[in-house]
């Protein structure tokens, strides 16, 4: 069930201003003074730069911040007073996020609620309304369509905007989105058939264009990884890898974290959760010094296996939405597009399917 509407650029600016007036934080892609695209809180819609440069890092930092306080403590004699971080968050509207970033949130929801509910993640999710925007694509490292997503996917979003002359076609795609339309209907016009048709053709064109970049069978890739833990393929990737966390940091689906204490004074401190990466040597090392994933061959295999075998086998979705940030960020040009192509080819040969 979805509902279309149209909003002019002027009305959107007014809507944003009114939302901010009523205490909603608005997050949008912006271009910094240095010329870098990134997701940031804005004060005015004019700061937003939709579809201009791929924001780095992904949207994930607004839901799983690079560092966040889990709790603070104060020691009083032999006693400890704990103050857990609040799981209530002020309302926020994410406006014009790339569909790969938005879909990633829904993918990560699964692990964040795997029997135990991550209240901080869920708190931010519940406080957020997310308007994705049909993506124009970035370059030939985009491969959302190869991993089950699309440049116009509304999965995980409450609405999908498509930029058209004079404004945006907006399709409300969730109950929260429809409630938003109900509450803020005065800003929206009825969508004309022409607008819907124009958006459809734009969306189809972008999908077709991104499909050129990569076509693979992710289920087959998962099966191959499952059966080839010790394959000679992995040591062809490990030596190139520097073992940094650039890929994981910019990735919208990488969610691994560390928990560290910080003393802020005598008997006071903060426990934080910080982004971490499976590519770091320290990630898995035991207190004894033993490291189950002792070199980059094993660590890089873990990255690929987690995304395309482990996660889908547990939660259904591949842990990748095809944004290509890891490809662009890797200082050593490790190339996930090529890696998926290679594994898919190996799997095709083995399973006797079409390459």
């Amino acid at each position: 069930m979805s509902a279309y509407a149209f909003i002019t650029a002027e009305k959107l600016a007014e809507l944003v201003a009114d939302l901010m007036e009523s205490g909603t934080r608005v997050i949008a892609p912006i271009t910094t003074a240095e010329g870098r695209a990134t997701y940031s809180a804005i004060e005015d819609l004019s700061e937003a730069t939709f579809n201009q440069g791929l924001p780095m890092p992904s949207l994930k930092g607004h839901f799983l911040p690079p560092n966040e306080a889990l709790l603070s403590w104060r020691q009083r004699g032999g006693d400890i007073e704990l103050k857990p971080a609040s799981t209530q968050f002020a309302p926020q509207l994410v406006l014009g996020a790339r569909p790969c970033d938005v879909e990633a949130l829904q993918v990560v929801d699964a692990v964040m609620n795997w029997d135990y509910h991550d209240d901080l993640w869920n708190g931010r999710r519940a406080a957020s309304t997310i308007f994705a925007m049909t993506c124009a694509g970035v370059d030939d490292s985009c491969f959302c369509t190869a991993v089950g997503s699309a440049p116009d996917s509304a999965r995980g979003a409450d609405a999908l905007l498509t930029e058209l002359p004079g404004g945006y076609l907006i399709e409300f795609t969730s109950e929260k989105g429809e409630a938003f339309l109900g509450e803020h209907g005065r800003y929206f016009d009825t969508a004309s058939d022409e607008a819907v048709a124009a958006a459809d053709s734009l969306r189809a064109e972008t999908r077709t264009r991104i499909e050129q970049n990569l076509v693979v069978d992710t289920a087959r890739i998962g099966r191959w990884i499952d059966g080839h833990f010790d394959d000679d393929f992995w040591p062809t990737l490990g030596p190139r890898c520097n073992g940094c966390g650039a890929c994981a940091s910019v990735c919208p689906t990488c969610h691994c974290f560390d928990i560290n204490d910080e003393q802020t004074g005598v008997g006071t401190g903060v426990r934080r959760r910080n982004w971490d990466s499976c590519q770091a040597k320290k990630f898995t090392v035991h207190a004894s010094g033993h490291n189950p994933r002792g070199d980059q061959d094993a660590r890089y295999r873990q990255r690929i296996a987690h995304k395309f075998y482990i996660y889908p086998s547990k939660f259904g979705d591949v842990l990748c939405t095809g944004c290509g940030r890891c490809v662009r960020a890797c200082p050593s040009n490790q190339d996930l597009v090529e890696i998926l192509q290679t594994i898919d080819g190996l799997a095709a040969v083995e399973e006797g399917g079409a390459a």
Binding site: P239, C244, S249, S332, E338
Partner: protein, 290 residues
């Protein structure tokens, strides 16, 4: 190019080395490759887009590389300064590696987008390049190239920072440090960041806060800059690797200038030249000690 490929093939075939570390073409420009089969040497390339400092693969702690066997490595002149740095610090012996030097005419800033070295595209690191030709390699291949156009942007940016008040400068760096997410791409790409346990990973005692907030990030990057003073070869790999575009080379360049002024020392491609951090002299300046 066949010259490089032929040499690599010969070195692998006659068993001189077990792996040749060089560049192959990738979708987004040349990328590091470890060639172990003679027939794969055809993949080797060298051109103005070969930006990586491959000396970083010589860190003996990279067990996934070391287990391939004795390496030959393709280096530009500037990269040999990093090799010399590792030799100076006894990370391995000179005879443990075969160095294939390439004549270099400079490299581009962004190999994914640029192909030719021009005044606009030349990498900042080529500014004031003092070791354009490899001197202490086992081979020197290719044709001598013309000197690349000068790019003085780094020194101009350092000068601009120097011209700021201390408060303004602090504000500038505080803003930059807020961006850091502690992925350690800078450290991992750095050919001289080879500590067994990096100070950032030490927990007993814990010197540097692990959290990527401005305070923890500032202490990380300043400690790293200090530890690279007199050791940094100015290859700029840290800044190139940074996914958050933090201008890390400005810190290292400033330290280079300080070391040059205080100790008349410029990082050398000769491993026999001792660095100020590795040697004590009676007449060392002490005025930098607080």
């Amino acid at each position: 190019m066949t010259e490089l490929q032929d040499l690599a093939r010969k070195l692998l075939e006659d068993g001189t080395v077990a792996v040749v570390i060089g560049w192959e073409e990738g979708r987004r420009g040349p990328r590091p490759v470890s060639i172990t089969e003679p027939d794969d040497t055809e993949r080797l390339v060298f051109n103005a887009r070969c930006v990586h400092n491959l000396a970083t693969y010589l860190d003996p702690r990279r067990s996934q590389v070391r287990k391939l066997g004795k390496p030959a490595i393709v280096v530009k002149g500037c990269d040999t300064k990093a090799v010399a740095g590792l030799l100076r610090e006894a990370q391995f012996k000179r005879e443990d590696v075969v160095l294939i030097g390439m004549h270099c005419g400079g490299v581009v800033t962004d190999p994914a987008e640029q192909t030719e070295v021009t005044a606009e595209t030349v990498a900042p690191r080529c500014a004031g390049c003092d070791v354009r030709e490899p001197h202490r390699t086992d081979y020197v291949l290719g044709e001598a190239r013309v000197e690349p156009p000068q790019n003085t942007s780094i020194d101009e940016r350092v000068a601009a920072l120097d011209a700021m008040t201390a408060d303004e400068r602090f504000e500038y760096w505080a803003t930059q440090m807020e961006k850091c997410v502690r992925c350690y791409a800078c450290r991992q790409a750095c050919p001289l960041c080879v500590c067994d346990v990096c100070v950032a990973d030490k927990t007993v005692p814990q010197w540097i806060e692990r959290a990527p907030h401005a305070r923890g990030n500032m202490s990380w990057h300043l400690v790293r800059a200090m530890h690279l003073a007199g050791r940094c070869v100015g290859c700029g790999e840290c800044e190139r690797a940074c996914p958050m575009d933090i201008p890390l080379t400005l810190l290292n360049r400033k330290m280079q200038q300080v070391v040059a002024e205080s100790f008349e020392y410029h990082v050398s491609d000769d491993p026999e030249v001792v660095s100020p951090i590795g040697a004590f002299r009676d007449d060392d300046h002490e005025d930098f000690i607080l």
